[in-house]
């Protein structure tokens, strides 16, 4: 059970010392020293679903794309329609290779018509920056990797708005879903977006790294009466999986297309030419070779990332994510399966450490919050 010590020193977020002080159980997460949990994954998960949780997601990367041809560049590199964005709005999008596979899945914030902030996965930040910068050559676009200039806190859960409200000169209630605003949080300059990776209401707050520890403490204090807990990567994973939000490196990567990953809602084929479009057009016409589906276990056991789905001796697919769902109280997961076996109700076999274990395709998401 011991973590193997890495060759290179782990990267630390500005909250590292505070997280240790708060009793975080630290793990190596893609080269970052981050807390997997504080009080326990189940308790933290429950706090976010019913009250609120506070996450350090400072490892995420921030890339700025600016200039007269910024929109043109982003339209070429992504599958969603960037022209639909307005100032102060965010968009979930796929950064695609010409093969249709994901460079990364990203959030695009439009500051102004020629000024975008792109929030990228930690492990991909350098790769994404280089990909975007290389593609920008010859265009009137300035690309800048400013990941080191930002810490990011995610305040998630039904109590998030009430906790944030007294601390900011912004009106959190007026920031609607997938919108953002600039203002001050506890006196500190911040970008505040109503976004998250938990399937719950909440905010993501970007501040200068040196301000992060004080703000993290302040939010914990402000939220203590409402039941706010510091949360780690473990709860982040169970929360996002219940909401069927894809995890790069698990559910999607350079070999998977957005249509295979059941992310058709971010594929806008009519927006004009973009990398991977011809592949997606063909997939749309002829069907995908495999499809990402949600499943529950029929037999006992938890299927984890990488376990094969089989039909007799034939491997028909693979589990990409799997865990115990704290909300449902039973194991859930995501897997790539052939399309003709991907209908809800369809049963299939997963090899759990060599043992044949039955699972059943179910509709997703596994959890959807009640909206008012």
């Amino acid at each position: 059970m011991a973590e193997t010590s890495p060759e290179t020193p782990l990267k630390k977020t500005p909250l590292n010392a505070l997280e240790r002080e708060l009793g975080g159980k630290m793990v190596d997460f893609g080269g970052w020293d981050l807390p997997v949990q504080f009080s326990g994954i189940l308790e933290e998960h429950q706090a976010v679903r019913t009250r609120a949780g506070l996450f350090d997601v400072s490892h995420m990367g921030e890339v700025f794309v600016r200039g007269r041809q910024a929109t043109e560049l982003l339209q070429k590199l992504t599958c969603n329609d960037v022209s639909k964005l307005e100032d102060g709005r965010c968009q979930y999008n796929g950064l695609l290779y010409p093969t249709g596979g994901f460079v990364d899945d990203i959030l695009i914030y439009r500051n102004a018509p020629d000024d975008y902030l792109i929030v990228v996965n930690a492990a991909n930040a350098e790769k994404d920056y280089e990909w975007i910068a290389d593609s920008a050559k010859g265009l009137e676009v300035f690309v800048e990797n400013r990941s080191a200039d930002f810490a990011q806190l995610a305040l998630q859960g039904p109590e998030a708005e009430g906790i944030l409200q007294p601390l900011t000169d912004l009106d959190p209630a007026s920031i609607r879903y997938y919108r953002f605003a600039r203002g001050r949080v506890d006196g500190v300059e911040a970008i505040v977006s109503r976004t998250g990776y938990t399937g719950e209401d909440g905010f993501e707050i970007y501040v200068a790294p040196e301000e992060a520890p004080r703000l993290f403490r302040r939010l914990l204090e402000a939220g203590s009466e409402a039941g706010l807990l510091p949360c780690g990567l473990g709860a982040r994973d169970t929360l996002r999986l219940e909401a069927k939000m894809a995890l790069y490196g698990n559910d999607i990567d350079h070999t998977t297309t957005p249509l295979e990953a059941d992310l058709g809602s971010i594929v806008k084929l009519d927006k004009g030419e973009f990398f991977g479009r011809d592949v997606l057009v063909r997939e749309k016409a002829e069907g995908v070779a495999r499809k990402l589906v949600g499943f529950e276990m029929v037999d006992r056991g938890i299927a984890r990332h990488g376990y094969p789905a089989v039909d007799g001796s034939e491997e028909i697919g693979v589990v990409t994510s799997g865990t115990h769902s704290p909300t449902l109280g039973r194991p859930i997961g995501l897997a790539y399966l052939p399309p003709d076996r991907s209908e809800p109700g369809s049963e299939f076999t997963i090899l759990i450490r060599g043992r044949e274990t039955r699972a059943r395709v179910v509709p997703t998401p596994f959890y959807k919050r009640a909206r008012h």
Binding site: M1, A2, K25, V36, Q37, G40, I41, L42, G234, D237, T238, R300, G301, I302, R304, T323, H324, P326, P331, R353
Partner: protein, 127 residues
């Protein structure tokens, strides 16, 4: 602190010996490392184990870990309560969170296991 009278395996199972019956579970250190336990897979009564055999697995929310037999012998009882209350492994690893009882076949194997002092030194070297 782990109980003094038990013996410990490098794979973090404990053995509480009562005459020729070994009660086996995972240590307090191990349950803390695993986090919330949600599923425990144990062998059937009557299974014969050799020391070092994989006897089952334990799933926490974040990961799965194999369980290994610290001693050879026959499984004479399995803690059925864990099927419904796997969290007992977290809340009471040495009490209600025990896993199996084994009638041991070779008492000399006990010498291969660590004393509490050795185990605590071993944990320190691991963390």
């Amino acid at each position: 602190m782990e109980p003094r009278e038990n013996r410990y395996a490098r794979s973090h199972e404990y053995v509480h010996l009562d005459d020729d019956v070994a009660i086996v579970g995972i240590t307090n250190y191990a349950q803390k490392e695993l986090g919330d336990v949600v599923f425990v897979e144990l062998p059937q009564v009557g299974t014969t184990l050799e020391a070092g055999d994989e006897l089952g697995s334990i799933e926490s929310v974040k990961a799965v870990s194999e369980l290994f037999a610290p001693l050879s012998g026959e499984v004479i009882e399995v803690n059925e309560v864990l099927a419904d209350k796997p969290d007992l492994v977290n809340s009471d690893p040495y009490g209600d969170g025990w896993m199996i009882k084994v009638r041991i076949s070779d008492p000399s194997e006990l010498d291969q296991l660590m004393t509490v002092k050795d185990y605590e030194d071993y944990i320190k070297s691991e963390s």
